[in-house]
């Protein structure tokens, strides 16, 4: 029975491999193994002062760390029956949004996008993407950098933050910095690809070679052509 092993899986966070068995041209079995060693956070958090949880648990993942940081703090506040002040909640939401932007732009641009655009199979990576579609690559970097700025302004630093403690935030955000971020956010959004500018990098050849349709891509790229807004700027509640 033919067997195919992909080891290591690439353009993912962490280490992994898959092994698949093929019989009569059909997939018979597929095994996926996570090769990152357990790091035993369940144990190493046990017995620690509770305010260590937001510090330690975010080290589970260097991509979605803001989520781990904020969830830890919320869990403590729930356990204690503590309500953080409104300003702290708003700062945390901004931090979460910044984390969302960095995490998703990183995944999209550096990990997934090379598969979705028209690149040869032996060069599906961000460097090749940047070579063929430099504008797209630069926009991706710009979005990622903007998310980082929001996280840094609200979390104190990037890739692991320090500001959320049980009951509130340890630092605020000046009006000036807030306004700068709002302004930069609007201009970053303005540079995002629109339905017409993305036509050049639709995965036509890849999609046709695998029998997939481009429906989903069309939906993303053209979600709001009538309004002329970029797809990233479209409000999910109204579409």
């Amino acid at each position: 029975m033919p067997e195919v092993t992909v080891d290591p899986l690439t353009r993912i966070e962490g280490l992994g491999r898959i092994r698949l068995e093929v019989e009569d041209g059909a997939l018979k079995d597929l095994k996926f193994q996570i090769m990152v060693a357990p790091r035993f956070y369940e144990y190493l958090l046990t017995g620690k002062p509770v305010e260590e949880a937001p510090r330690i648990s975010q080290r589970i993942c260097g991509i979605c760390y803001t989520s781990h940081h904020l969830v830890s703090v919320k869990a403590i506040e729930d356990a204690w029956g503590v309500e953080p002040p409104e300003t702290a909640v708003l700062l945390r939401r901004a931090m979460n949004a910044g984390g969302f932007v960095t995490s998703h732009s990183l995944h999209n641009a550096f990990l997934a996008l090379p598969d979705l655009v028209d690149l040869p199979a032996n060069a599906r990576n961000f460097v090749a993407l940047l070579g063929k579609y430099p504008d797209l690559g630069k926009i991706a970097v710009k979005i990622h950098a903007y998310g980082n700025k929001v996280v840094e302004a609200t979390g104190g630093r990037v890739v692991h933050v320090v500001t959320s403690v049980p009951g509130g935030q340890t630092s605020g955000l000046s009006e000036q910095r807030r306004d700068e971020l709002v302004e930069e956010g609007a201009s970053t959004r303005g540079t995002c690809p629109t339905a017409s500018s993305t036509r050049g990098w639709r995965p036509t050849s890849w999609a046709s070679s695998t029998g997939w349709t481009t429906t989903s891509t069309t939906a993303i790229a053209g979600s709001s052509p009538a309004t002329g807004r970029s797809w990233l700027g479209s409000d999910p509640t109204t579409t």
Partner: protein, 288 residues
């Protein structure tokens, strides 16, 4: 053109994300050189011979990772340990108070949150989380959790231009703008118990900031953002054990602090990132 390798072991990929924050500088480095193996960025499956500079994030926690780091070392001219896990074991080193097999049972079978757990058998866990240099020779370290973008750029660009990189020899306090008056709180405080004075040294106010025992050069972003230094950059240049240096500083400061002082409770606070590579863990290992 230099052949570059970028790999992640027992860590959280945060160092590689921090590298991405170099943005244009990173793109310049990658396009001016040749990235030959980097599972997070490119699809190469084999570690090629003749790597010039290998940058490795994460510590060693299983036989698979031990195998990878030995192979990388064998095939690389220069090996850089990137981040606290690779340099000192990092946060996962805090699990070293128990041995690997116990931990597997505890987390995958006996843990409160586990229902009908199965212990994964495809990995052979090592007894402890270790730093890279505990297995192979490491040429340069870029400490921090995450490492500072400026340090990453400095080390890589220095090496590429044939110069030896220099890490900061200061302590975090040297970068910290908070004022020290030499007057200390007689009680220890937890960060949520009191809003600290924004202009005064956190340690003087009774918050356990590990800045005095931690390598500077980061610009002290955490005390600037109102929280303690967690110690992610490991011991200062002239300090061999970060936690012991911190305990030494504390006991010298005030005997009153020692009232509520037990090593077990505070191990993680002084050695958050460097326990696996600490003198204390070596003593504990000898006792096992």
């Amino acid at each position: 053109m230099v052949k570059l390798l970028l790999a992640g072991l027992a860590g959280d990929s945060g160092c590689q994300v921090a590298m991405l924050a170099l943005h244009e500088t990173l793109l310049d480095i990658i396009s001016a050189n040749e990235l030959v193996f980097a599972p997070t960025l490119i699809d190469a499956k084999e570690i090629p011979e003749g790597v010039d500079v290998a940058i490795v994030e994460g510590g060693i926690r299983d036989d698979h990772e031990e195998h990878i780091i030995r192979e990388i070392r064998e095939k690389s001219g220069v090996l850089i340990a990137l981040g606290a896990c690779a340099c000192f074991g990092g946060i996962p080193g805090l699990a070293n108070l128990r041995c690997g097999d116990d931990l597997m049972n505890m987390v995958y079978a006996d843990h409160k949150g586990t229902i009908k757990g199965t212990i994964p058998r495809h990995l052979e866990i090592t007894a402890e989380q270790r730093a890279l240099h505990q297995y192979v020779k490491v040429d340069f370290i870029i400490p921090g959790c995450p490492p500072e973008v400026t340090d990453i750029a400095h080390v890589i660009t220095s090496l590429l231009s044939g110069q030896a990189p220099q890490l900061s020899r200061t302590q975090v306090c040297d970068d910290c703008p908070r004022e020290r008056l030499g007057e200390y709180s007689t009680v220890l405080k937890r960060i949520h118990e009191e809003v600290p004075d924004p202009d005064r040294c956190l340690l003087e106010q009774g918050f356990l900031c590990v800045g005095p025992a931690t390598r500077g050069g980061c610009g002290a972003p955490c005390p600037k953002a109102g929280n303690i230094c967690e110690g992610c950059r490991g011991p200062c240049e002239e300090v061999s054990d970060q936690g012991l240096a911190m305990m030494d500083a504390l006991t010298a400061l005030s005997s009153q602090i020692a009232d509520d002082f037990t090593l077990q409770r505070y191990t993680g606070m002084f050695h958050r990132f460097s326990y696996a590579d600490s003198k204390i863990s070596r003593l504990a290992r000898r006792d096992k």
